[in-house]
């Protein structure tokens, strides 16, 4: 192993990351009349459709259901957009990588940071918009959200790093990943609740266990609990979420380290 550039190297390139993030945000919002609000429109519309359709099917109380969908859908969108974006991040930087040295980690990290900006803003704005509609009262449990964000970012970056590296070797991976993300979306309790107070709920008891095996379940619950239920996650839920995030991040870093130096020869 000639060189194994570590995180210090990435830190040295923080100006580059800053530039990538701000340029991406600028390009995204520059020529749109409504600017940032376009980015809200998508989750808002999605949420509206889901709320109307599913509250008719499942007969959930509409107002609460809107909040439930929102609190899961926004972090999910962040995750899905991040993984999807990371996928092509290194491949599409080919022309730069052939002219200058970069620690490759710069690219997935930039994608995550770009999404994080949009995500935090949209969550805040959507909550503000929805508060009067749903009669939402914020609780002190919201203070756990920074930790929820950390877990979410950990999972996204971990999977994103692997996706970024793997796509260099298999260019059609991005299509597969969007399909997989879509499938996982329906397997994660976001548009339906896993457990409902009192009633049976849409998922029979004996199957719930399988839903809980989904690593994304524990992450999304870190948002459901404080925002929708207005309570802190239990210690067990916390530990599982943190563990899922750290393991994913660790695996991502290992894979990245292992392949980082080979990437340039495969672009």
């Amino acid at each position: 192993m000639a060189t194994s550039p570590g995180l210090r190297e990435v830190w040295r390139f923080r100006e580059v990351i800053k530039n990538f993030v701000s340029q991406d945000l600028k390009v995204k919002y520059r020529r749109s009349f409504l600017g940032f609000f376009w980015s809200l429109l998508n989750p808002l519309l999605q949420m509206a459709v889901i709320t109307v359709v599913f509250s008719l099917i499942f007969k959930f109380p509409m107002k609460l259901y809107a909040l439930y969908v929102l609190s899961g859908l926004v972090p999910w969108s962040f995750w899905a957009t991040s993984v999807d974006g990371c996928c092509m991040s290194i491949v599409s930087a080919e022309s730069m990588l052939k002219r200058q040295y970069f620690p490759k980690l710069v690219f997935p990290i930039s994608v995550i940071m770009q999404n994080l900006v949009t995500f935090v803003l949209s969550l805040a704005v959507l909550l503000l918009v929805l508060a009067p509609v749903t009669g939402y009262v914020p609780s002190a449990a919201l203070l756990v959200l920074p930790l929820s964000f950390l877990c979410l970012v950990g999972v996204s970056l971990g999977v994103g790093m692997v996706a970024a590296v793997a796509t260099v070797y298999f260019r059609d991976l991005q299509h597969l990943i969007s399909v997989a993300l879509n499938a996982l979306f329906y397997l994660t309790p976001i548009i339906y609740p896993l457990e409902t107070a009192g009633g049976e709920g849409p998922i029979p008891h004996r199957y719930r266990y399988f839903f809980k095996l989904n690593p994304m379940y524990s992450i999304i619950e870190m948002f459901h609990r404080p925002i929708y239920e207005g309570r802190l996650p239990t210690n067990y839920e916390l530990i599982v979420a943190v563990a899922v995030a750290s393991v994913t991040l660790g695996v991502g870093l290992l894979v990245f380290r292992r392949y980082e130096n080979s990437l340039i020869f495969n672009l």
Partner: protein, 268 residues
């Protein structure tokens, strides 16, 4: 000021050449199911082997050699774009490679924003870059297009901007691959003067060029690469003469070697 240097210790760089370019899951799965030959035996090509080179502070090194002899690979190893398969690269000093101009331009962004981006890539903070913006626009004569997205620039304009940014940054080690061309005569002269001034300021220059005149006028040492190995090391005059006579006479040193196939390849 610290002494700048570049040291290459026993550098080897191998490219593994695949016979097929199939890099998709679909292909891989089909190959497996249909029991097709996955990839024919890969062969590896040594782009560089056994390179030992020390470039001390103040030296201007020229590299000559045929296409595919490893000249560009060598610059890319020094820049760390290619991690070497074996050996060690060490360098001390702020290094700027001008391998191809126009690095990382985001054409959606304005000229000004691209200046900051390029600066950041080369290791300059926004603040330090902001001090240079005026000079860059002065020299490139693009001041009135500062806020125009680069995609509306002509290719000549984009290149002028890139050149001006790259040469406004004062590197301690400058790696040059060929000399930028394109542009009207007025620009060419201006650019050459500026290049000259930049080269005079840097403490180390490594220049790859097919122009023997450039090597002779800029460098004080030269090496001749042949099939990834240094075959001769000496003064620019010696090297240019030997290289020229070899080219003319087709000497024994000019073994036939394969063009370095660029991609796809993995190092071993």
């Amino acid at each position: 000021m610290a002494e700048n240097f570049i040291t290459l210790q026993d550098i080897g760089l191998e490219f593994r050449i695949f016979s097929t370019r199939t890099r998709s899951i679909k292909e891989s799965v089909l190959n497996y199911l249909l029991r097709r030959e996955y990839t024919k035996p890969t062969r590896s090509v040594a782009a560089l082997s056994g390179i030992n080179l020390h470039i001390p502070h103040g030296q201007r090194l020229g590299i000559v050699g045929d296409n595919g002899s490893g000249k560009s690979s060598m610059l890319k190893v020094i820049t760390r774009i290619y991690p070497p398969t074996s050996g060690r690269v060490q360098s001390q000093g702020f290094l700027v490679p001008l391998l191809e101009v126009g690095i990382g331009f985001n054409t959606e962004l304005s000229g000004l924003e691209n200046i900051f981006l390029t600066g950041a890539i080369m290791g300059f903070s926004r603040k330090r870059m902001a001090q240079r913006v005026d000079q860059i626009f002065d020299f490139s004569e693009l001041g009135e297009f500062a806020d125009t997205p680069v995609k509306y620039y002509s290719s000549g304009m984009a290149q002028r901007l890139a050149f001006s940014i790259a040469t406004e940054i004062d590197p301690e080690i400058l790696l040059l691959d060929e000399i930028f061309s394109a542009g009207d005569i007025h620009w060419m002269e201006k650019a050459q003067r500026r290049m000259r001034a930049l080269i005079d300021r840097t403490s180390i220059l490594v220049l790859v060029s097919h122009s023997m005149e450039l090597i002779q006028s800029y460098c004080d040492r030269a090496i001749w690469l042949e099939a990834g190995k240094i075959v001769m090391d000496g003064t620019p005059d010696q090297i240019v003469e030997a290289y020229r006579s070899a080219a003319a006479g087709g000497s024994a040193a000019r073994s036939t070697h394969e063009e370095q196939a660029p991609l796809p390849a993995v190092p071993r």
